[in-house]
Each structure stands twice: as C-alpha cells, then as structure tokens.
Amino acid sequence: MIRFADLYHALDSTTKTNVKIAAMAKYFESASSSDAAWATYFLCGNKLRRIVPTKLLRIWAAEEAGIPSWLFDESYHAVGDLAETLSLVVPPGDIKDDDSLAFWVNERLEPLRKMDEEAQRQHVVEIWNQTPAQLRFVVMKLITGAFRVGVSKRLVTRAIAQQSGVSADVVSHRLMGNWKPTPSFFESLVDPNVQDTLASQPYPFCLAHPINVEDGPQAIGDVCNYEAEWKWDGIRGQVIRRSGQTFIWSRGEELMENRWPEIESAAESLPDGTVLDGEILASQSDGTVLPFAQLQRRIGRKTVGKKLLTEVPVVFHAFDILECAAEDVREEPFAERRGRLEKLLSDCDHPHLRVTELISGMSWDELAKVREKSREMNAEGLMLKHKDATYDVGRVRGTWWKWKVKPFTIDAVLIYAQKGHGRRASLFTDYTFALWDGDQLVPFAKAYSGLDDQEIRKVDRFVRQNTHDTFGPVRSVTPKLVMELAFEGLQRSKRHKSGVATRFPRILRWRHDKQPEDANRLSELLEMLGDQE
C-alpha cells in the first residue's frame, strides 16, 4: 500500500506527462497482478462505492483528535477536502505491516460494508492508528469513494503498454467496457498472445480536433482531401452486433441497456460481427433532427415509457464502421469504410438506423456558408474527415476536425461568487452572472472556467473586498465586474429566474473596458433564443 500511496503522491505532485507515465510504469514493474489490477482500476477513474458514511467518519475523527465537531468542520472548511481533513486532524499513526493494495481493498476496506457501526468504528480507528498522514489520505479517499488522481485513461494505457510491451492500441481496446479488477484480468491485459473475443467489447473512440473558429479550415489543407458531415449534437455511441446480441456504448464507456429500444431493435437487422460509430439523435420520422433539449428528456432515464417513445423517437446516425463481417476495418481509409457503411445500411434499411449525410464537392467558402445553417439543423457545426485516414485511437492530429459554429456571446455582470473545489478550494472561482432587466440584474448563468490563474486571484480579492451579503457558501458582491460569456446554446427553462438555460457557459474574457451598465440586457438574450427556435 505504501508503494501505491507513493505513486498517488508522485502523480499528484507533477503536471509532466512523461513523469507520470514513468511513475506508473515503475509501479507496474514490480506490482503483483492482483495489485496491478486494482491500481489500473483506480487510475482509470473507477471508484469503490462509499464504504462508510462520511458523517460517521467525521464524528469518529473528531473524537479521536479530541476536538469538538465544530472544530472539525472549521478544519474541513480550511482544507476543502474531507479525506484530507480526516488524514490531518487525527494524530498520525505508525505503520505496522505494509499490506498490499489488493489486501487493503479486499480484506480491510470492502468487509467494512457488512459490519455494524461499532465494529466499523473499531476498524477505522485501527486504520488511523496504523497510518501516517500521506498513506491515510489515500486510504480515506478509497473509503469515502472519492479517489481521483490526475491521469487520463490514455496515460494509464501508455504506461501499461510501455511496461508490458503490448501495443497501446491493444491495451486500450482491452481496457474498454466493463471488467473486474482481478489478477487474471490484469494478466490477460498484458498478455501478448491472448485473443480478444469478448462479445460486448467496444473499440476506443476516434476523437476530433477543433478548428479555430476565427482562422477557419484553410490550414488543414486542400478541401478535396476531406469529406464534410454535420456535427450532430446528440450522444456519441458505438453499436455492436456480435453473437446475436446488441450492445450500445456511450463515449464515456457506459453500456446503455434498455435506454434506446428503437436502436436496439434496429440493430437486430445488422449482420453479426458489425460495429458502428455514430450519434444517437432525437429525430422525426422524416429524418429531421430535433433539438438537444428533446433528447435530454430521454437521457438519464433507465427505462423509457410509451409516451416518451412516441414523443421523442431516436435514430442512430452512423458515420463510421469499425468492424465489418467480424473483421477489424479500422486500418482502412475513411473512404473505403464509408463505402462499406453505405452498403451495409442500405441492405438492412431500417428507419432508426441511418447513414449520416455527406456534404461533398464544395469549396471551403461554400462549406462555410453551409456551416452557417448549423443552428437551424440543430447541429453544432461541421465535421471534416480526411478521406485517406484510418480510424485513429487516442488523439492523433489531422484526421478528424470539428468546425463548430461561433458560440453565442454576451456581456454579463458578476453578482455572486462561491469557493471552488479541490485545487481551488480556498479561492472564489465559481461565479454567477446577470443581465439587465429594467434596472434589475437577473442571474442567468453560472460559469467556472475561462480565466487564468492571475485573473482568478484578482477576482478572488475583489469578492473578499466587495461582499455585500453571505448566504451559506455564496457571497453576493457589488455588481461591478463585466465579463464576456460564451455558450453553445439556449433553451427555455421554468427553473431559471431568467426563463432560459444556457448550455456550456464559459468566460471568454474579462471586459475591463466595460462598466456594469454597459452589460447586455435579458431581452437581448431572449432574442438569441428566438434565432435558435
């Protein structure tokens, strides 16, 4: 466990990719399969379900530290992280035996779930007595179900590939989907000879790079080398048909079961050994794509009722084929895969399974005009795909590009601020912005990102010096700072005072040149809504 805690701190204390990969590779080099499996599990972002209620942990920690609960809360407030507060407040313990990570998870943490409160308490206190702060922090992160470390799955994949000698593509494929952190899983993950046969297993998704909206696409080369498609605003998914079964995966590698019955039944008409990449969209029977807000009504529902099924039918717009006749075709050029895709879907001809339309034979200027229509089409812009490109894994540049429409922008006034979390726990980083309605400022959007560290510190200082009122964690401040916000879309909302909700609002820049009275009016925001509808 000490090695795993050291790995955590090594990863946590650097931002350098190579240092992170080296630290992980070094860990895997001498970890047992059972430890390596759990480490892979946690590093990939999986968590244990919370093992002990945090309320109890707080009470016990205060008792062990000999402090009243208000002082624990005060400490928590200063630290900003519960596991860290637990690890700092309780006096440090001494390591007795250095048990393995797998032993910790299987024998010391998981069994806590089934114990009664008194037994839980005894074991937790024992853990505290046997751990110094650094080690305890990692254990507490696991117990509270909040373990998170700054590495992407891609980095973990590279580290395992580097250490085991198995190619990163293969490791990445084997890490897709659902797996259990068992020693045998890890052994097959790094086995150079194993055949990958699991029916449900998806492929890693190919990701697109953004085209700078100001500069346009000229820099990526000749338009003849590219095909264009709409960039739909739906849910990216992979439809797998193998061994007479259908699996639909989201890009977040979640297996979506019973959520999209139309697509599941459509997939039955696909031949075995087919994997399609595409977008799940709410769509009318004539193929017209509905706004994302409609699709949202079906997102998050585990099962879908009849009414919703008729009101918001969904269609899978396939734009690529990754496996055809049980053959991995990702190495073929895009144009060839596209040919296979068109043929396959015209053969099965199902209304809930469409090939996305190509927009061909245009110049960059003509495409720019087409792109202007994105909002009418309920699309986010255009996708540009190189005709010769293979289906890339990870973030290889230059094959898929997303050319989004210009975001909506508006100048708004900062009126509330709240402290951030994690790294920014003690700074005011979460802001609420307002627009004018008569002589009132009406809040309409929250934004967390877009300022650099120096600007954040300036705003933080402004908030501290200009607080009017405090409502719990929220400060209301003198309406003085004007910032330009960008957002991707708008929809009507009864829950919002302003009557509209913005999608992906973010701060574009701080308008030092503007006074609060120069900020936009709510009516101007509502006009944008009109444009969109």
């Binding site: 200063a78 860290e84 440090p92 922090f137 994690g422 003690s426």
Partner: protein, 349 residues
C-alpha cells in the same frame, strides 16, 4: 483601573508605559517582538527590541529612528512598566515581550514556535496572567514534524535532483525561514546559491554570530555559470519569473507551513512542498498555553476565533482580539508579511 495592555486599532497598547507592542501603524514608541515587517512597523520614532535582532532591525527599519536593544532576560523600565524580552524560537532575535506592573504580568508571544531551530534560541514558557498568542496555524490540521525530519526530506530531494542533473530551487521567506533552511542543508551534496534578498538576510545573521553554511550569491556569478546539482535558496516571488532561466533544468520547492494542505501546495505551482514552519502548530499552541498557565488568553493573528472558542470550551478565559477571519485579513497584510498564505510575494513560515 486601567489594564496593563489594551487592544486598539493601532495595535497592542500599554497605557501605563505609553508604548505599543508590534504596532500596526508607525507610532512614537514601539516595542517589537521580531524583525518581520508585520510586527516591526517601518517609520516609528523609537524601537525597543531584543539584542540579537539588532542587525536585522537596523537593516530593515528607518535610519532616523532611535534603537534600543536588551539582552534576553534583562529588564528595562518604561514609564514604570518592567519590560523584558525572552526567546520565542521564531527566528534570529525573535522575542516574547514580558510586561510587569504592580505584580501583574502580561506576555506577548509575537510569532513563536516550540520546535528546535539551529538559527535561534528556543522558546521558553513564561508564567503570566495574560498571554497574547498568535494563531497563524491554529487548527488541528497543522502538525509539524521535527526539524531533522524535514531537513532530511529536503536534502534527499536535493540529492535525487542532483543525480538527475537538475538544479534545486527552494523558496522560503527572505529573512528567518531562508536562514533556517540554509542551516539544515547538507553542503556535502553540492554548492548552495542565494537570491539577493536572502543573501542580505544572511549577512545580518552572520554578523550576529549565527553559523550558516557557505553560500554563493547568484548575482556575483557570470551569466554562463553552470548550476547543475546546486541548491538555490530564493524568495517565493521569484517563482515563475525569467530570473529562473539561468539555472537551466530545475526542480522547484516551497518550504512553508501552508504546504501541509494539498490545495495550497498545488496553487503554488512548484514541484515539491516541504512543511517547514516557524509558527506554533496546533499541539504546541495548546502546550504553550498550558505551560504559561495564564488567567486570560488573547488570540491574535490567524485562526483567532477557533482557537479562542476551543480554549473557552476547555475552561480558559480566552478572546479573539483580531476578529477578522484569517482569509479576510490575508490581503490586508503587508506583502512582506511572513504569515499570508496565498498572496504572491507574501510568505509565511
């Protein structure tokens, strides 16, 4: 009856002797605990302080002031009040100020710590009726390791970085913290270099007779000097500036009590954070109160409300005399303060 010490807008005031202890503004007569500028305020007419702080205070305060220095433990009478200085263990010359008048004893700790420090005399408890204590790190999350443990960590980092072909850059407050760090470094690992502000502090320390390892002032070297394997001790405001370029590939670290908390560590944007503080941590703050056993405690400078409430609940008369919470008061502090946790340039201990 007038009390011996009053908490006023301008700082702690002794009406009987007509002087201030660590005033917040320039005053006529200042009795100061130590040379940090949030305690020794620039521009006073008269300063009274402990002898070992003489070089530092003369270096940092206005030349036109009158200075008077007293050895630790000896007392001088100011307007009928007996004033004496006693080691506070915070930095060279740091003192607790003891006031006695008609049998009543008041002790103002200034900044202090209980752990060992090779660059200054150790704190000692003084029985008193009223204790005025700082509370910069007055929360139970702050607990320091012994000095040898942290110096060991720093030297190990230096050794590893040297072997990896890097130059170490260690940030600490220019006066006090830097010299304590220097004293803990193992010169057999490599050459120790200093930033100008740190070197100035070193001079005052050396003149006072504190033994520090040999240091080379970066400004004395030519532009092409190779720093690989070396250790540069610098002020935190140097982090992220072009000044760092000349050192080639570096590993950076911050030494401060705030480094105990991960969020603060990450905000600093340095490679390593070492928990080295010249203030009392939670257990030693409580120990100090226990061993001085005052009737009343005034809590200032930091987590005042939390410490005062905790002491009250444990049966001691205690008040927070500086009621602003620490986060609110950060930015009001001088940039030169040794206590501010997050502002650039201002460093703590």
């Amino acid at each position: 009856m007038v009390s011996l010490l009053q908490s006023t807008q301008r700082g702690l005031y002794c009406p009987v002797g007509d002087f201030y202890v660590d005033p917040r503004v320039a005053v006529n007569r200042a009795v100061v605990t130590h040379a940090h500028t949030d305690h020794a305020r620039w521009g006073c007419r008269h300063y009274l302080a402990a002898s070992p702080s003489e070089h530092l205070l003369r270096m940092r305060m206005n030349d036109d002031a009158e200075f008077e220095f007293m050895p630790y433990g000896e007392s001088v009478t100011v307007g009928g009040v007996d004033v004496s200085f006693h080691p506070a263990g915070h930095m060279l010359g740091s003192a607790q100020v003891r006031l006695e008048y008609r049998g009543e004893v008041v002790v103002v700790t200034g900044d202090y710590k209980l752990g060992a420090d090779p660059t200054c005399e150790s704190w000692q408890p003084i029985p008193c009726h009223l204790l005025v204590t700082e509370s910069t790190f007055g929360l139970p999350v702050y607990r320091w390791e012994p000095d040898e443990v942290t110096s060991g960590q720093i030297n190990q980092w230096w050794r590893e970085s040297r072997d990896a072909g890097l130059c170490c850059v260690l940030y600490g407050y220019a006066v006090g913290k830097s010299q304590r760090l220097l004293a803990g470094l193992d010169p057999s690992i490599g050459t120790i270099y200093t930033h100008g502000a740190v070197e100035k502090g070193n001079e005052a320390y050396r003149r006072t007779g504190v033994k520090l390892p040999e240091t080379v002032f970066v400004g004395d070297l030519d532009r092409k000097h190779n720093f690989t394997g070396g250790m540069v001790v610098a002020v935190p405001s140097a982090n992220g500036t072009p000044w760092l370029r000349r050192f080639g590939k570096v590993s950076t670290a911050m030494a401060s009590g705030w480094m105990a908390v991960r969020g603060a560590r990450r905000r600093r944007a340095v490679d390593r954070g070492f928990i080295v503080s010249d203030h009392v941590d939670w257990p030693s703050l409580l120990e100090a109160v226990r061993s001085c056993d005052p009737d009343t405690v005034w809590v200032t400078h930091g987590y005042t409300a939390a410490v005062a409430r905790y002491l009250q609940e444990n049966g001691r008369d205690a008040v927070a005399i500086d009621s602003r919470s620490r986060s609110e008061s950060d930015e009001d502090r001088s940039q030169d303060s040794d206590d501010a946790p997050s502002e650039d340039g201002a460093d703590d201990s």
